[in-house]
């Protein structure tokens, strides 16, 4: 870890328009790769009922929770309507040397 950046995974570990789970220091995160090869990270659990978002579906920059289809914008963490009412926390991400680094916000 340097300057608070955590080496999370290889950039190629995440398929385009997909998400993986990353656990660190007792917390769980979701790291996303969108179709334009941009990467984002949020808390890993849905704010509705603590389900792992990494099992959900990424579609046009939106992650849908696998349990109740709650939808969040992965770029901003914004909850997009029922049954999710609380925004997701987002975290900074950078890709360097083929690795994805996460800075917990």
């Amino acid at each position: 870890m340097a300057d608070g950046w955590i080496d999370a995974c290889a950039a190629e570990d995440i398929d385009a328009e997909d998400v993986i789970r990353f656990d660190h220091a007792g917390r769980t995160f979701a790291i996303y790769r969108l179709n334009d090869d941009t990467y984002f990270a949020t808390d890993g659990l849905c704010t509705h009922e603590k389900v792992h978002l990494a099992d959900g579906l990424v579609m046009d920059g939106i992650i849908e929770c696998p349990k109740h289809n709650g939808r969040f914008d992965v770029r901003t963490g914004e909850a997009k309507g029922a049954p999710v009412c609380i925004d997701l926390a987002t975290h900074k991400v950078k890709v360097q040397g083929g690795r994805v680094f996460l800075q917990i916000g």
Binding site: D15, H68, A82
Partner: protein, 352 residues
């Protein structure tokens, strides 16, 4: 059929309300918001299965609307003769029964890829089946969180011991319908029931009150139209089909969970997958694959047969027909009348 039956532990009366002692007991036992069993499906395959598409639902919705026009048109044409009866039955089933699956799938937001299409069909279907959209969205959310967990799930269709009278009345929504209408009046005055308050968040409640007022206004218009035309005909098309055409809702709906285990964290034990004919599957939008739907609610209805193929080796043997399911359900419900601790135990593959 490889199912077996078993008696459970000695029965104690359960409280199926969401505010009683069984609610606290379920939470204390870790049954609420718990982790459920899921069959292993590779991520790549699951992504394919979850993929959204507008095509199948647009096709099915166009057929659905066309069926309304044809059956409704012929029912109107033959009105006041006996020939109108079969057409009203068909219209009624489309209106009062197939709306159940449309409400359900669009409520999950998986039927169409395009969000507004889900929302439009959701609201139409909700009105047809007399389920207030916001109330039932949240009720169904809870049903998926705590499926058939006593004290937590608001959608347990046959609490033990089951009331056969209630089930028969609900063939035509004669018990649930008046309750739904009473709730419309409660909501229209800006109130919720105590149970609803446990699962509808504060910020969503204004929608409940607004829609209840809209529903009541629409029903008032239908009544006015009946008075104006001095005929029941307007209500035969809007409002009454919820009742006279609602029997398939119960017929399909009871196959989902009736007679199966309560308070388990494995959908293979408390839900049924039943093979149905193509007409039933159109009316029911593949909800006969109910184990699959509960285990992976993100998978759209049109992909459920493929999901079924992917996980069936890890699931109990499906029922070969609706009739086969009822050969189990009816005796089970009758037995639960005198022996409420009884339930149908589904053998899991590892135990077969």
């Amino acid at each position: 059929m490889s199912t077996t039956v078993d008696a459970a532990v000695a029965f104690r009366p359960r409280d199926y309300s969401l505010t009683g002692p069984d609610t606290e007991a379920a939470i204390a036992r870790g049954l609420s918001q718990a982790t459920w069993y899921t069959c292993p499906v590779p991520r790549k395959q699951m992504k394919e299965l979850m993929k959204r598409s507008d095509g199948p639902a647009i096709r099915d919705t166009l057929i659905w609307f066309a069926s309304f026009i044809v059956t409704g048109g012929l029912a109107y044409y033959f009105w006041a003769t006996w020939w109108c009866v079969p057409f009203f039955i068909a219209y009624g089933v489309l209106y009062g029964s197939s709306s159940d699956s449309r409400w359900h799938e669009c409520g999950h937001g998986t039927a169409f890829k395009t969000r507004w299409m889900n929302d439009v069909v959701y609201h139409i279907a909700c009105f047809m089946i007399l389920r207030e959209p916001t109330v039932w969205r949240w009720s169904h959310t809870r049903h998926h969180t705590d499926t058939i967990i006593v004290g937590r799930d608001p959608e347990i269709a046959s609490p033990r011991p089951p009331s056969i009278g209630t089930l028969l009345l609900n063939l035509f929504q004669l018990k649930s319908g008046p309750v739904a209408i009473k709730k419309l009046f409660i909501h229209a005055t800006g109130r919720l029931t105590a149970e609803e308050a446990t699962f509808i968040p504060e910020m969503e409640r204004w929608k409940v009150f607004l829609v209840a007022r809209i529903y009541l206004a629409l029903f008032a218009l239908v009544i006015l139209a009946c008075v104006w035309t001095r005929s029941i005909l307007p209500a035969m098309f809007v409002g009454l089909p919820t009742f006279y055409g609602g029997f398939m809702t119960l017929f399909f709906g009871l196959t989902q969970h009736a007679g199966l285990a309560e308070d388990v964290l494995d959908h293979r034990l408390n839900a049924r997958t039943v093979y149905m004919n193509p007409v039933f599957r159109f009316l029911y939008w593949n909800m006969n694959y109910h184990v699959e739907h509960h285990m992976f609610p993100m998978v759209p209805y049109h992909a459920l047969p493929a999901l079924h193929a992917a996980i069936k080796a890890d699931c109990p043997t499906p029922y070969p027909s609706t009739l086969a399911a009822y050969r189990e359900i009816i005796p089970a419900l009758l037995r639960q009348r005198r022996e409420p601790s009884y339930f149908v135990r589904r053998p899991l593959p590892a135990a077969e």
